[in-house]
């Protein structure tokens, strides 16, 4: 029962990692580089949500603002930097994304200071379901995450733009000669990746604290989940995020609170060494 409780606690953490990994894997699958600014985009979302929440008292408004703000931020990063570097090596793009991450973090530090801030959400009594204590706030956050994920997967798998995004991920040349317009696909992809990151960032901020570094510090588990799920596989990213979140919590009694983050690193190494394709791998999709 104790472990089941830990596992349930891990689910929300896992959703945060899964959302970040989804954003990372979308960019990797379509724009073909690991976007190290993913974590900082999450932080940006957390601060946007925090600010709007403070001003309006509404978490719903906060999350809408966060999604919109981070989506625009991601799009601006694409238009001003990544688009111009298209066709360069993966390393140039990676380094550029590290730079953008720094800029976002520094900007947030200047604007909001480096002290930790918290969301003022009312504490509520946990509800008991089948003997497990579940925090109603966790339930709300999980619902928001699931809705966000459902929206992303609906776009990816049920709409023309989603089909084109997957087509570009599969075979960029064929997509181009088929008349699929790369700018449109990229625009949609960056908006979605930014929005998804914001949802993750907001959840992270509500569950823990908000500081300019929270997102950056999430980057390792996010990368681990992306690789575990199979780079470029959206479903894999989410599933692996959940697996990792749960595994981290369940491992806490054994490795202690401080070191649970190291688990992602172990997973990352193990996957790279044993099964580089990941769970839902499609290594051939990553050229």
């Amino acid at each position: 029962m104790f472990y089941a409780q830990l596992a349930v606690n891990g689910l929300v953490q896992g959703l945060v990692v899964g959302l970040g990994a989804l954003a990372l894997t979308l960019v990797f699958g379509i724009a073909r580089f690991p976007n190290a600014a993913t974590g900082d985009t999450m932080t940006f979302g957390a601060y946007t949500a925090l600010t709007v929440h403070k001003a309006s008292g509404s978490l719903a408004l906060g999350s809408i603002a966060a999604v919109g703000g981070a989506a625009v931020l991601a799009l601006v990063a694409y238009l001003t930097v990544f688009k111009r570097l298209a066709g360069r090596s993966v390393v140039s793009l990676l380094v550029a994304s590290i730079g953008i991450g720094f800029m976002i973090r520094a900007g947030l530090g200047v604007a909001f200071g480096h002290q930790q801030q918290v969301f003022n959400v009312p504490l509520s009594r946990p509800i008991r379901i089948a003997g497990l204590a579940i925090n109603p706030l966790d339930l709300q956050l999980a619902t928001v995450a699931v809705v966000a994920l459902a929206a992303v997967f609906a776009i990816l798998y049920l709409t023309p733009i989603g089909r084109q995004m997957r087509a570009v991920a599969d075979n960029r040349d064929l997509a181009r000669v088929s008349g699929i317009r790369p700018e449109r696909v990229m625009t949609a992809m960056w908006l979605i990746a930014g929005g998804v990151s914001a949802v993750g960032g907001m959840m992270l901020g509500i569950k823990t604290i908000v500081s300019p570094e929270v997102g950056w510090e999430m980057l390792l588990p996010i990368f681990a989940a992306t690789i575990l799920g199979g780079i470029g596989s959206p479903v894999g990213a989410v599933v692996a995020g959940l697996v990792l979140g749960v595994a981290q919590e369940v491992s806490t009694p054994f490795v202690g609170f401080t070191y649970k983050i190291a688990l992602s690193f172990v997973v990352l190494l193990a996957v790279l060494l044993v099964r580089p394709r990941g769970l839902f791998g499609r290594i051939e999709g990553v050229r």
Partner: protein
């Protein structure tokens, strides 16, 4: 009213891949293009379909110059090509592959998706119906919802043909449609080509399988070393001594 290739030349470094190639495919025609390996057939296709600019020469389609149009632009005029090694979106299903071949819809931007949901749905349904028809025509129903990457070589060729059909082509350039395809499926593909030709779609077909092509195309061009050697009806062309020499290495 035709595809008009005039005096095309193309060199790669010092190697002249095409020198002064001219040919013509009448609208609704079915023309074959044969020649030994390295004769320049695929290069010619790449030039015609806009994948490669020619050094010299002009290409006209339906009385209009294609110069300066990219492959997608040429496809919109009704001129599409397939590839010797079939290309597909490996992780998309056969159905999705074909749906992705018909761009230009409202649902291709997020804004369109949300603001004009009704129109998007309508277009998707119309497109899905077209795709269903093409899948039925190509007898691909059984694999319609399989990822295209899992199909056999011959089936992939059919998917390519299907993708070409969804662009509403008037002329299809087929690059070795029978290469690596099992004999049963060859007959099948040939039947489909004839049927489409009967509906008024023109074809220019590169093929290595001489026997198959002479059965299919009433008119052949022969290429060798970047030039058109001769053209005419299959019997006359095959009887030509120069063709035998080039194609069969003089082993007659």
């Amino acid at each position: 009213m035709s595809l008009q290739v005039t005096n095309i030349s193309k060199a790669f470094g010092g190697f002249k891949a095409l020198s002064g190639v001219s040919l013509e495919v009448p609208m609704g025609g079915l023309v074959g293009l044969i020649g030994p390996n390295g004769a320049g057939k695929s290069t010619l296709f790449s030039v015609i379909s806009g994948f490669m600019p020619p050094d010299e020469g002009a290409i006209g389609f339906d009385g209009r110059s294609l110069d300066g149009l990219n492959p997608a632009g040429r496809a919109r005029t009704g001129l599409v090509r397939t590839f010797q090694v079939p290309r597909e979106f490996a992780h998309l299903t056969v159905r999705e592959n074909m749906m992705a071949a018909a761009p230009g819809q409202t649902g291709e931007s997020l804004v369109g998706l949300f603001l004009r949901a009704g129109k998007v749905r309508e277009e998707e349904e119309r497109l899905a119906e077209e795709v269903r028809e093409v899948i039925r025509f190509l007898r691909l129903e059984r694999v319609a919802d399989e990822p295209a990457g899992k199909l056999s070589g011959g089936q992939k060729k059919l998917v390519e043909l299907g993708r070409a059909l969804l662009v509403k082509p008037r002329l299809i350039l087929l690059d070795e449609p029978f290469a690596g395809v099992n004999p049963v499926l060859i007959g099948e593909i040939m039947e489909r080509i004839r049927e489409l030709n009967g509906r008024g779609i023109g074809f220019l077909v590169i093929e290595h399988d001489l026997e198959a092509l002479t059965r299919l195309a009433p008119q052949l061009y022969v290429m060798d070393q970047g030039r058109i050697l001769t053209m005419g009806a299959p019997d006359a062309v095959l009887a030509d001594a120069r063709v035998r020499e080039a194609y069969l290495g003089g082993a007659v």
